[in-house]
């Protein structure tokens, strides 16, 4: 019985062995980075000869790290707001509407997700260069919204399709006007989908490198662009410190997601 864990016999230990190996493979580089960020060696000697907070001090003393983080945050928040609201509207239209070409439009919304990012990046690079949007926050937000939108729409559409519309109709029959019914009944019911859309949109923008490299100017960089630039020069432990902070941020996000799932269930 290959799908009964306790009846697998020796095969069970083969699978567990592969599982441990892969868990180590996925986890070790991350833990390794954390260790390096506290190591004193400029040349990334491992295990570190002694421990220090020097790289974190350098990180916080450098205005380029702080500025690019703030730019990234600003950009990601705006992208989240924009893609969730546009995505919510579009999802209502896609799930409930019946206009001609609905399926084709739905497929089209997924295109930026399917397409290699490099193609989107060079296309937008050329386009924004012409419009003078290169190196502006507005340009960053527009570009990232386009690639975050498919994820937001997928997440919200799924939630909306699971939601029984007759509940909203019942609210209208109870005397709520259609907008009130959507606001008070439908939105809370699909909040998990909305939350998923927000997380995905945020992470898409926050982690995005390729488009950002093409769009960045020396005066306006997102955090990934700054890391990228640093990495191309040398493998300084400051990047390890930045990576560790980013890891903490991811962990926090996972906890929020788990808490949110626990609350809605």
């Amino acid at each position: 019985m290959l799908l009964d864990f306790h009846r697998l016999g020796g095969l069970k230990w083969v699978l567990v062995g592969i599982g441990l190996f892969v868990a180590a493979f996925l986890l070790l580089p991350i833990l390794f980075t954390v260790a390096l960020s506290f190591g004193s060696s400029q040349w990334l000697v491992f295990p570190p000869p002694s421990w220090t907070l020097r790289w974190y001090e350098e990180l916080f003393a450098d205005s380029r790290w702080i500025d690019s983080t703030l730019t990234s945050l600003q950009c990601a928040v705006l992208v989240t707001i924009l893609s969730v609201s546009l995505g919510l509207l579009a999802s209502f239209g896609l799930v409930r509407g019946s206009f001609p070409g609905r399926e084709a439009i739905r497929a089209m919304f997924l295109m930026p997700m399917i397409m290699p990012v490099i193609v989107v990046a060079v296309a937008l690079y050329a386009f924004f260069l012409r419009l003078g949007l290169g190196g502006t926050l507005f340009g960053f937000v527009l570009a990232h919204t386009v690639i975050a939108l498919p994820l937001a729409i997928t997440s919200i559409c799924n939630a909306l399709e699971r939601f029984d519309k007759s509940i909203e109709d019942a609210a209208v029959l109870c005397g709520a006007n259609p907008w009130e019914a959507k606001l008070r009944i439908t939105l809370p019911a699909i909040r998990e989908g909305l939350f998923g859309a927000a997380v995905f949109a945020f992470l898409t923008s926050w982690d995005e490198v390729v488009i950002a490299i093409f769009m960045a100017s020396p005066t306006l960089q997102t955090l990934p662009v700054h890391i990228w630039g640093t990495l191309r020069q040398d493998l300084t432990p400051v990047v390890a410190a930045a990576s560790t902070l980013l890891l903490l941020f991811t962990l926090a996000l996972m906890l929020v997601a788990a808490w949110f799932r626990g609350r809605t269930k």
Partner: protein, 291 residues
């Protein structure tokens, strides 16, 4: 008794008839954004590939004929195939394990996969850049164990790219595979066992064929994503072994050759879409077989 009972046929509330054309205005804002910031720029790029430096298909001809570009696409295919093969071979047992592990352990393994997936891409790539260096931990460990005498060149070549990309792609194959394998009724394998099938027969004749849709979907997705991947190849790969996405970036950013860059981008785009179309057809076929 003379009472008449009225039996409702068909059951359920009447479907509300939808207005034709309803809902389009909801879609409009997102659609306008998509058309202006996505469709139009991509079309303009395509246009440049057939107009620069002059009108015609010369860029595409060069793309096909030039040995340099040929090697780049060959590299891309090679790395993508190897990465796909490794992720399928490793991802399958992991997905299997995730489906059958007791919940606590499955949740832990899931957590590790999600953590690695959500950790900043550059942070993960940085770790591998350091680990794979000539003086890095992996080389030192191998020398320390006496397996090798001289440090291996693990970075700035396709080996580094393959390791780094496998690391990044692994979650993308595991997650769809888990979905497929969760859908397989454990009783099916109990039935197979009682029918007389030993482990190998049950695997070969039941578990594997039923997991195949997930393997195909996940594998194709990994392959397609690998084809267009930019970050890992540029950081872990060498300048002599470029992959397609790097080529496009270099043509446009360094050489300002918009015509060639556009042509290469368009070639990659068509390839990607064709593979997705293939996947969609495969998926529909297996769905039709099950429905």
């Amino acid at each position: 008794m003379t009472s008449v009972s009225i039996v409702e046929r068909g059951g359920g509330p009447p479907q509300r008839r939808r207005r034709r054309g309803g809902g389009f205005s909801y879609v409009l804002p997102a659609l306008v954004l998509l058309l202006i910031v996505f469709v139009l720029p991509v079309l303009l790029l395509l246009l440049r590939s057939v107009t620069e430096p002059e009108l015609g298909l010369q860029n595409y001809r060069e793309l096909v004929e030039s040995a340099t570009y040929g090697r780049v696409f060959l590299n891309t295919f090679l790395v993508s195939s190897v990465v796909t093969a490794i992720t399928v071979l490793v991802g399958f047992p992991i997905a299997w394990l995730l489906v059958i592990l007791p919940k606590r352990w499955a949740d832990l393994l899931f957590g590790i996969i999600i953590l690695s997936m959500w950790t900043n891409l550059l942070a993960r790539t940085y770790a591998w850049m350091v680990l794979l260096q000539r003086t890095g931990v992996i080389n030192k460990t191998l020398i320390g164990l006496g397996i090798i005498d001289e440090p291996l060149t693990l970075v700035n070549n396709l080996v580094g790219v393959t390791i780094g990309m496998t690391y990044i792609m692994l979650p993308f194959i595991i997650l769809p595979l888990v979905t497929t394998m969760r859908g397989i009724e454990p009783d099916l394998l109990r039935a197979a066992a009682l029918c007389g099938a030993g482990r190998l027969d049950a695997f070969r004749r039941v578990l594997l064929p039923l997991s195949l849709p997930g393997i195909a979907a996940g594998g194709l997705m990994t392959f397609v994503m690998s084809l267009g991947y930019f970050v890992t190849p540029s950081l872990l790969g060498g300048t002599s072994n470029m992959m397609a996405a790097e080529l496009i970036a270099q043509l446009i950013q360094s050489l300002l050759n918009w015509g060639m860059g556009g042509a290469a981008a368009f070639a990659l785009l068509v390839l990607t879409l064709a593979l997705y179309a293939l996947q969609l057809r495969l998926f529909r076929r297996t769905q039709a077989g099950r429905a």
